[in-house]
Structure formats: structure tokens, C-alpha cells
């Protein structure tokens, strides 16, 4: 923007209007604005605040509230009425007078405000928005001092729940339609609409309109609460909890997924009261998903551990001092590492080979700094590469893929690249469920012409909302499908800028990572790996996998190892690639490994939960670093409490490879957190705990604080080998073996849903209420063949149990059953996972409960 001298009379001396710009006058100031810019934005750039409600920079203009009226003169003639500046674009020689210089505009704005307030309740003292309310503020700045309306106001029943998480107060609504436009344009969930006419016009859902039907089922519904310019939409979990001026706002980063979304945490009295979306145009724009927004009470759950615990004489965990717990842990781990623990005996009482070594399962939710401390702890204190952060399905092929395409590659494909890409293909990634912010970007991209293809089994909501381009394939046949992509997809991927997004579930299909690697080599598309958990990318980059060291260095790369050893000030590092998660658990269960160090791992998430339980039971030593009591702590000999993200600083490296730094939200030691009636415990970050534990084992990690750890990691830089080996698929890309039990030949397809009772969703009943109901999905033909009608209960049977869910018909390939990979139990604490039932994506499955005799026609 160029800004010229103030007097129009000096117009002749002005520089020429730049290409693609127009020159206009706003409040007697001459300004050049890019063609097509909205007047209200031009005013903003000049520092002139025009009051507004419906206008939002990320939503299409609507002109719904009329609060932004200004006087406009075109070609020397005034327009007969004031115009809405949020819908009018700039034009050459336009003369605009806002309320600053025009009495007409000011009067018009006051009039609109008066109309808006006719039926507005006098709720401010009890309104959640009070204190940060645009209506309050603008009623002061642009409204009349006195109200002329004395009549009784229109009232509605309130609050009206439009989902278990979002409450609607129709009296307060100014009908700006930000919420409906967000849901339609950004999230693609058209569950709320404007209903009725005149004074009864209101926002509502099918359920509120007809008494039955769908409520506001959206993973992004919380954003409407944030952008509602009044207190009409409120959050059930924040309602009446506090007022904006009570809160301390601290910027942070989402810990719930790998998006690295910017958030703002508002807290008081040592506890977070709400999480809002931060504004980061390069990452999450101004949106976050409901899991990130509403799941924050896990830090205050009754299960939180705040003091170290050791297993006492009687076999129960007892709280103890840090000194004693660390000494105990260090003693046990040293003995286990050196094989000095009690020698096992076989059933005949003969002494066996002593168990030796400790495996490390840090979990996928660590910050970069904590992950680095774990990586260093494993290599230096435990002298092993038996470390794997992947608490999920995994494979050796994945390690190759990570080494080739991810580890130490820095910032790769970005959100912005997705938006620019001509074509995107998602493989083994259900974006809305597994990476909601990526989904929002893909939807934005799809609306502006990007062809977003999904390799999957059915037209899930994410597929529909990003343009409906599904490459349908049978589960387990993804490799073939990639080899024989339809021409439009293959051609799209061959265009410059095309992107392939691959999810962590690719490890479930042997050969899929290799196929993706081959596909991008063939088409020239760029590839990005989008894991679910916040710490996965950081774990790969810091060497929390058995074949990699920090910075993408390979364990079997001798020079890199030697360089790293010298940076760390040790003679050498363990040279043999370690065991992966499954192998570590197997070795512990078989009595090879003596000990396990376990971080934030949920046993139910592991590919074989029973094996994990056996391993934890068989290991001589289990040291657990945990936030809260969990299944792992039940097995632990020593439990060391660690700080949740709100109590520490750190960095999450998101899927793009972008470092998302954040500071401490609440520092309980800072004295600000004297919480009455609750607990504000001083817990330490993992890196500090590991550092102190290592000191007890006579090793220095130098990771006392996240800052120190982060600096050291940055100094190490990356050390990717010059040539990275190919991604090796399975020897014989064998077809999934067909077991023909009772002639069903059904194949299972599955992935996890966003809200499925994970550990970080503890104590959030309102949020759990908005989870998508778990369903079994079948094609119409298969349902008919097996005798299921819509909503019939069906039983997914696996070798180790079964799960009963209602049936829904979807456009799956025939003879495929889709089921969510994890289903929260009805009691709120247990979960059922398909892995726990012995089932996996692409594998055979049996379905019970159908009644082939019934007519079974799906509706």
C-alpha cells in the first residue's frame, strides 16, 4: 500500500497507480488498493475500524448484519444509501466516508445497532462472552447511549444444546451467520442452518427444528463458538466457568495430533479453562479441531501422578521421594542392562541364560526435546538401540521409508503446498479422523481446484467433503491399486507440485511403503508422512526408532555414529540396529530382555496388547514415566511422574517438519497456581527426569531443561547418509492369504476415529458426546447377502474376541467389513481395539449376528 499526501488537490503529483490496483479516497485519505479488495479490508489497512459482526477474513463475504455501513460516492455522485463495506470491493476514484467522517454513516450504524439490540437480552453479567464481546464493544463505540425500546423482549428457551459440546442461546444471536458459513465453507458440515423468518429467525439444527434428526455433528464445531461475535454459541465445558478478564492467555501448540496447530490456552487458578485456536496462517489458519479444543482436563484428572512411586514390599505402589525413586530405578536399570539381575530358571529349576538389556518404549507424544533425551538415554545410559516410539502398527519397511523420505529432511511439504498442489493423493490416511487440520487444508484446496484423491475403501465424510474422489480398493490390495492408478490420478500426480500424503497405517499393508516410494519416484510427486500423534515426527528426527540416530543418521553408518559419539563425548555408540516395538515386547516376554523403560504408551494402542502385557509381566524391571496412572504403571517397579505439555516448554515437530516451539503455560512453581480445592503439582519434563536418572547411572545427558536439550539437538544438525537405501518391501509381495472359513471370505478395513477414548480424552464427557458413533460398514450387496439391515447389530469376530456394533451401509467394495479400529467401552474406561481382538486391516474377519433369512433389504 502506498499512502499519498492527504490533500486530494495534490493528486497530480501522485505516483502512477500500480498495476492491478485502484486509487480511491477513504476518509479524505488517498489510498491504492489491489483490485477486488473489500472496502472493509482497505479501511483496516488505514487503521480505520469499521464495526462489523458477520465479516470474517477467512469466510466468504455475506453482508448479513449491516453493521459495517459506510457512505460511498462513485463518479462524483453519492450512492443513495449507505453501503455495507464488507461486501463492496474497491473501485477507481471511489470516495468513501466511514463513521469517522460521515454523520450519515455514523447514524446508519447506530440505527443498525439499535435494531440488533431490540431483542438482545441484558445478559452481559452472566454471558460467557461478556468482556470479549464484539457486540458489547461496538454497542459502546457505535451504538446509541440510550435505548428507546421499552417493550418486552422476545425470549427463547435457553440454552439449547445443539450438540453435547455446543450450546445455543438464540436470544443473543445477531444472525450474522458466521457459524453457518464456517460449517458450510470451511468444515463442510452442514448441520446448522438459519431457520424461520422475521423476529423468529434463529440458528438451529435438524434436531431443534423438527424435534428429531441430526444434531451439530462436526469435528470442528468448537470454532463456531470462537467466531460467534456474541455469546450465542457457548461451550458446555467452559460455560459459566470464568470470565475473559479472569484468565491468563498463553500461546501453545496442539498436543493432540501432528498438525502443530497454534492454540491459545486460557487458564486461571492453576488449571486450563479453555483452549482456543491460535492464529497462524501458515499452519492452522484460525481453526482447530474439537479434540484439540476441548480435551484439556486430563491434566487435572484424579489419575494424575504427581509424586514418584516405587513398588513396596506388599506389591503395591507407594509414593516416595525423588531421591529414593531415582536410586531404585537407576539400580534396577543398571543391573538389567548388565545382565546382573536374578537369573531366570526354567520349569525344571535349571538356571537359564541371564536376561540382559533394557528396551525403551517412549510413546509417540513426546516433545522434540524430551524425545532427544530419550534417544540419548537409550544410547548412553542403557547402551542399546532397542528403542521405538511407535506405539502402533509398524514394520521394518516403515523404517526404510522413514530413513529415505522423512528422517532429518527438515521442512518438506507444507500446508501451503497442499493448497497450491494441482493434485493430492492420500494413502492409508483418513485425513479428517487422523489429521483434522490437514483435512481442513485439503478441503480449502479442493474448493479452489486441487484434485484431492483418497486411496481407501469407502466414501467417508472426508472423501465427500474434499471433492469425492475415491480410488476404491479392497483392504490389503493398496499396493496393486497404487500400481494401477486410474489415469486421471496418475496424470495429476505427474504434474509439478503434486503431493502424496501417506499415513502411519501404511505399515499395516506389507509393501505399501515401498509402493508409495516407487510411486513418487515414478510420478515425481512430493511425498509427506502424516502420523497421528504429535511426537512421531520428532521421534523419527531424534532417533527414537531402532535404526536411526538423531538428525536422520543411520545406526549402521559408521562415520555418522563416530561423529555423534564424539559430539556426545563417548568412545562409541551401540552399533547394531535395535529391535522395534514388537520385537522388544517379544524379547521381554521371552525372557531375553531384562527391563523396559516405558513412556506414555497405552497398551491398547499396541499391535498386540496381550504380548505387551506378557512382556511387562515377564520383565524384571519396568520403569514408567507417566502423567497418570495407566495399565503400564500397574506393572511398573518405579513410576516417575512427568509434566504435561501445559507445565513445560518444548517443541513439537509437526508432520511438515516445522518446529512448533511453545513456552510453559502454567508454571506451578511460579506461585501463580495456588489452586484451591485442586492440585497444582510441580512435575518435571521427561528430559529433566531422564537426565537425573542418567546421573544416578553415572552418565551425563546434559538435558536438564528443554532449552539445553533443544540447543544441543540443533547443534548436532542433520547427518543423513549420502545415499539412503531403497525402501524394501516384503520379499514376495504376497497376497493376503485367503482363509476360507465358512465361506465368508470377508476382509476387514479399519482406521481409528478422532474421538475414541484415548488417554488424553480423559474426563471430557461433553467431548465424548460428539464422537462419531462407531458403526460397522458393509456394501449393500454384502449386507443383503449376510442378512443385515441398516442398524442391525453385527458382531465382528476375531481370534481373541468380538465386538458388536450396528451396521451401516456404505459404498464399500463387496465382501469388505469396515469397523473403527478402537471403540471406547460403555463404562468410559475400557476400550476395545480390533488389534486386541486379533484383527487387522486387510486381514480376514468373520461377521456374526446376521439373519440371512430376513429380507434384509438395506434402506
Amino acid at each position: 500500500m502506498t499512502q499519498a499526501p492527504e490533500k486530494p488537490s495534490e493528486q497530480d503529483d501522485l505516483p502512477p497507480v500500480p498495476e492491478g490496483h485502484v486509487r480511491l479516497t477513504i476518509d479524505d485519505r488517498i489510498v491504492d488498493a489491489p483490485q477486488g479488495e473489500l472496502l472493509i479490508r482497505t479501511c483496516e489497512r488505514l487503521g480505520i475500524v469499521v464495526p462489523r459482526f458477520c465479516d470474517h477474513p477467512l469466510l466468504d463475504p455475506a453482508g448479513a448484519c449491516r453493521q459495517c455501513l459506510v457512505e460511498v460516492e462513485m463518479g462524483g455522485r453519492k450512492m443513495p444509501k449507505p453501503q455495507a463495506s464488507c461486501t463492496m470491493t474497491v473501485a477507481q476514484d471511489m470516495v468513501v466516508n466511514t463513521q469517522m467522517t460521515s454523520a450519515v454513516a455514523d447514524k446508519a450504524q447506530q440505527g443498525v445497532m439499535e435494531l440488533l439490540l431490540i431483542n438482545h437480552p441484558l445478559d452481559c453479567p452472566v454471558c460467557d462472552k461478556g468482556g470479549e464481546c464484539p457486540l458489547q464493544n461496538q454497542a459502546m463505540s457505535s451504538g446509541r447511549a440510550e435505548s428507546r425500546f421499552v417493550e418486552e423482549k422476545r425470549t427463547f428457551a435457553k440454552p439449547l444444546p445443539i450438540s453435547s459440546e455446543v450450546l445455543l442461546d438464540r436470544e443473543r444471536c445477531v444472525l450474522c451467520q458466521r457459524c453457518t458459513r464456517f460449517s458450510r465453507q470451511i468444515a463442510g458440515d452442514q448441520f446448522i442452518e438459519l431457520l424461520e423468518r422475521g423476529a423468529h429467525q434463529q440458528i438451529g439444527t435438524e434436531e431443534t427444528a423438527f424435534g428429531e434428526g441430526e444434531d451439530f455433528q462436526s469435528y470442528f464445531s468448537g470454532n463456531t463458538i470462537q467466531i460467534c461475535p456474541v455469546g450465542a454459541l457457548t461451550s458446555a465445558s467452559y460455560r459459566f466457568r470464568s470470565r475473559p478478564f479472569d484468565l491468563v492467555s498463553t500461546p501453545g501448540v496442539s498436543e493432540h495430533d501432528s498438525s502443530g496447530a497454534a492454540v491459545r490456552r486460557d487458564w486461571r487458578r492453576g488449571a486450563v479453562t479453555r483452549v482456543l485456536a491460535g492464529d497462524d496462517p501458515e499452519v492452522n489458519e484460525e481453526w482447530i479441531d474439537d479434540k484439540t479444543r476441548f480435551a484439556f482436563r486430563y491434566t487435572q484428572s484424579a489419575q494424575r501422578i504427581t509424586r514418584p512411586m516405587i513398588r513396596g514390599e506388599d506389591g503395591s505402589l507407594v509414593e516416595t521421594s525423588w531421591t529414593e525413586a531415582l536410586e531404585r530405578a537407576a539400580g534396577l536399570l543398571t543391573a538389567a542392562r548388565d545382565g546382573e539381575g536374578p537369573a531366570p530358571v526354567d520349569t525344571d529349576g535349571e538356571a537359564l541364560e541371564p536376561k540382559r538389556g533394557v528396551g525403551v518404549l517412549p510413546g509417540g507424544r513426546l516433545t522434540l526435546e524430551d524425545a532427544y533425551a530419550y534417544a540419548k538415554f537409550a544410547r548412553l545410559a542403557l547402551r542399546t538401540n532397542d528403542v521405538d516410539a511407535r506405539a502402533r502398527v509398524h514394520s521394518g519397511e516403515e523404517l526404510d521409508f522413514l530413513a529415505a523420505h522423512v528422517a532429518g529432511t527438515g521442512l518438506g511439504v507444507t500446508y501451503g503446498d497442499l493448497e497450491e498442489a494441482p493434485a493430492v493423493l492420500t494413502v492409508a490416511l483418513e485425513v479428517e479422523e487422523e489429521a483434522p487440520i490437514v483435512f481442513l487444508r485439503l478441503r480449502k484446496a479442493a474448493r479452489t481446484g486441487t484434485a484431492v484423491h483418497h486411496l481407501g475403501q469407502w466414501s467417508s465424510p472426508a472423501v465427500v467433503k474434499t471433492g469425492g474422489r475415491l480410488v476404491r480398493c479392497a483392504p490389503g490390495r493398496e499396493v496393486e491399486a497404487l500400481a494401477t492408478l486410474p489415469d486421471p490420478v496418475a496424470d495429476g500426480l505427474a504434474q509439478p507440485g503434486a503431493v502424496v500424503l501417506v499415513g502411519e497405517r501404511a505399515a499395516e499393508v506389507p509393501g505399501l511403503y515401498a509402493a508409495v516410494s516407487e510411486l513418487v519416484a515414478r510420478t515425481g510427486a512430493r511425498v509427506a508422512w502424516v502420523p497421528r500423534r504429535a511426537g512421531e515426527r520428532g521421534a523419527v528426527d531424534t532417533g527414537l526408532v531402532p535404526t536411526l540416530l538423531p538428525g536422520g543418521r543411520a545406526v549402521d553408518d559408521e562415520t555418522a555414529r563416530a561423529a555423534l559419539a564424539s559430539s556426545w563425548g563417548v568412545a562409541d555408540l551401540p552399533a547394531t540396529p535395535g529391535r522395534d516395538t514388537a520385537a522388544i515386547l517379544r524379547a521381554a516376554a521371552d525372557g531375553e530382555l531384562a527391563g523396559l523403560v516405558v513412556g506414555g504408551v497405552e497398551i491398547a494402542d499396541l499391535p498386540d496388547p496381550d504380548l505387551a502385557r506378557a512382556a511387562l509381566g515377564a520383565a524384571d524391571v519396568v520403569v514408567s514415566l507417566e502423567l497418570a496412572r495407566s495399565e503400564v504403571t500397574e506393572y511398573a517397579d518405579v513410576v516417575l511422574p512427568v509434566a504435561p505439555v501445559i507445565n513445560k516448554a518444548g517443541t513439537f515437530r509437526n508432520w511438515e517438519g516445522r518446529d512448533r516451539r511453545f513456552g510453559t503455560t502454567i508454571d506451578p512453581s511460579g506461585g501463580s497456581a495456588g489452586r484451591v480445592g485442586g492440585t497444582a503439582a510441580t512435575t518435571l519434563p521427561d528430559c529433566r527426569v531422564l537426565d537425573t536418572l542418567a546421573v544416578e547411572m553415572d552418565v551425563d545427558l546434559f538435558t536438564q531443561t528443554p532449552e539445553v536439550a533443544g540447543t544441543e539437538l540443533a547443534r548436532l544438525g542433520t547427518g543423513r547418509p549420502a545415499t539412503v537405501g531403497p525402501v524394501r518391501g516384503p520379499e514376495h509381495p504376497d497376497q493376503p492369504e485367503t482363509t476360507d472359513e465358512e465361506g465368508t471370505e470377508l476382509r476387514l478395513a479399519s482406521w481409528r476415529q478422532l474421538l475414541d477414548g484415548g488417554a488424553l480424552l480423559a474426563d471430557e464427557p461433553d467431548l465424548a458426546g460428539t464422537a462419531r458413533p462407531p458403526r460397522i460398514r458393509l456394501s449393500a450387496t454384502t449386507a443383503r447377502r449376510l442378512g443385515f439391515a441398516e442398524d442391525d447389530p453385527a458382531e465382528v469376530e476375531g481370534p481373541r474376541g468380538s465386538l458388536i456394533l450396528p451396521v451401516e451401509v456404505a459404498d464399500l467394495p463387496d465382501d469388505v467389513v469396515w469397523a473403527p479400529a478402537r471403540v471406547p467401552g460403555t463404562d468410559g474406561t475400557t476400550v476395545v481395539t480390533l488389534a486386541g481382538l486379533g484383527l487387522g486391516h486387510g486381514g480376514p474377519v468373520r461377521l456374526g449376528g446376521g439373519s440371512p433369512m430376513s429380507d434384509g433389504s438395506p434402506s
Binding site: P125, V126, R239, F240, V676, G677
Partner: protein, 212 residues
């Protein structure tokens, strides 16, 4: 120098000797305060015993001395302390800080918080001067029931707010305050033998803000 000059200076002293003494015989004789004296706070109840406090924290916000601490809680149908959605789960007033300004009472939207005439707020333990909800809640009067219990006077909180005064006039439910006001002695010189403790406590129910 005149003859009486030596005693003239005692004029005030002597004249005072014949006036009524201002010395209070406290604590043997308790002083009756002005009816609107700002004494200890009280958290009032609805006629059926439910609490009026909704845990809005406006009193805490209004307090210039930061003497009030409130944490709200959610009412449920099984466990209801007040009509409506929220109640004051934790309520504390720190009388080491309170300056008796009464701003909290003006802030309270439900007239839950009022002030009594009780002024004996001294103790030898600082901790005991932080009054919690139990010590601040108005006593249960006849017809009242100890919460938690369901709403007895209507189906929602509006019935309590809108029809509250009318309901209070009904014979079966007695509003605490209306019942008690006549019992406060009108402005009369304090009886010389002192006001009994009971009397002070009864008059304490009459509250500064609670007039309809």
C-alpha cells in the same frame, strides 16, 4: 491573671462530667448497630432452603480488597444446591481483608449475598477468619430443607426469580427475611441490661441488601 484562670482550662472537663457518658460497656452490653450496618456477610436461601448463590463470582470481582473467593459448581438433578445450572461450590470470605464496603452486595445478581449486623469478627487464629460457606450460609428456618434437594417451588429457576416474592407471601412457604424483619426492634435506645446474644443473632438475619 484572674482568680479563675487556673481552672478555666477545665471548663470542658467539668461540663463533660455532667454529660451522658459515651463509653460502651462492651462486651457486657452489646451495642445494637444501625439497621444498615455492614457486618458479617450472609448467603441467603430461597424459601425452600435452596441456596441463592449461583457461583457467578461477581462479588469476588467487585471486592476492592480481594477478600472473596468463589468456585462455582454444576447442579445436577440428583444433587441440587440452587435453582438453575450453577451453585457456589466453594465460597470463602477472608475477614482479614474485607473492609466492609458492601460493594459485593451491590454486585450480587441474585441477592444471595447480603450483610448482617454481626460485627464480632475477631479471632486469635488467622485461618479461622477465612469464613467458608458453612459459616456464611443463612440458618435453615422453619419450612426450609437442607440442600441438596430438588426445586420445590417451581420447575425452573425463573419460577424462583420471577415469582419468588409472591411465593414468599404464601402461607406455606415463608421467606426468611420477610418473616424476620418485624422482629428487629425499631430504633429504640438499647436496653440497659444489654441485648442478649440471641437477639443479636436474630437481628442479624435482617440484612442490608435484602429489602423488597
Amino acid at each position: 491573671m484572674g482568680l479563675f484562670d487556673g481552672v478555666a482550662g477545665f471548663g470542658v472537663t467539668f461540663s463533660t462530667m455532667f454529660r451522658k457518658v459515651v463509653t460502651e460497656d462492651y462486651p457486657r452490653v452489646k451495642k445494637v448497630t444501625a439497621p444498615r450496618y455492614h457486618g458479617r456477610h450472609q448467603l441467603n436461601r430461597h424459601p425452600d432452603g435452596l441456596e441463592k448463590c449461583v457461583g457467578c463470582e461477581l462479588c469476588a470481582w467487585a471486592c476492592p480488597a480481594d477478600a472473596i473467593y468463589v468456585e462455582g459448581g454444576d447442579n445436577t438433578d440428583e444433587e441440587r444446591y440452587s435453582p438453575g445450572e450453577r451453585y457456589g461450590a466453594i465460597y470463602q470470605i477472608n475477614y482479614l481483608r474485607c473492609i466492609g464496603c458492601g460493594l459485593c452486595i451491590e454486585a450480587c445478581p441474585t441477592r444471595s449475598l447480603t450483610m448482617t449486623n454481626e460485627y464480632e469478627l475477631a479471632d486469635d487464629d488467622r485461618q479461622d477468619l477465612i469464613y467458608d460457606k458453612e459459616r456464611l450460609l443463612a440458618p435453615l428456618l422453619p419450612g426450609m430443607e437442607q440442600p441438596p434437594h430438588p426445586m420445590r417451588l417451581g420447575t425452573d429457576e425463573q419460577d424462583y426469580y420471577v415469582q419468588g416474592p409472591e411465593m414468599a407471601r404464601r402461607s406455606d412457604v415463608q421467606d426468611a427475611v420477610r418473616e424476620e424483619i418485624p422482629m428487629v426492634p425499631p430504633r429504640e435506645p438499647a436496653p440497659q441490661d444489654g441485648v442478649s446474644t440471641e437477639a443479636v443473632e436474630q437481628s442479624s438475619v435482617m440484612s442490608t441488601g435484602e429489602k423488597r
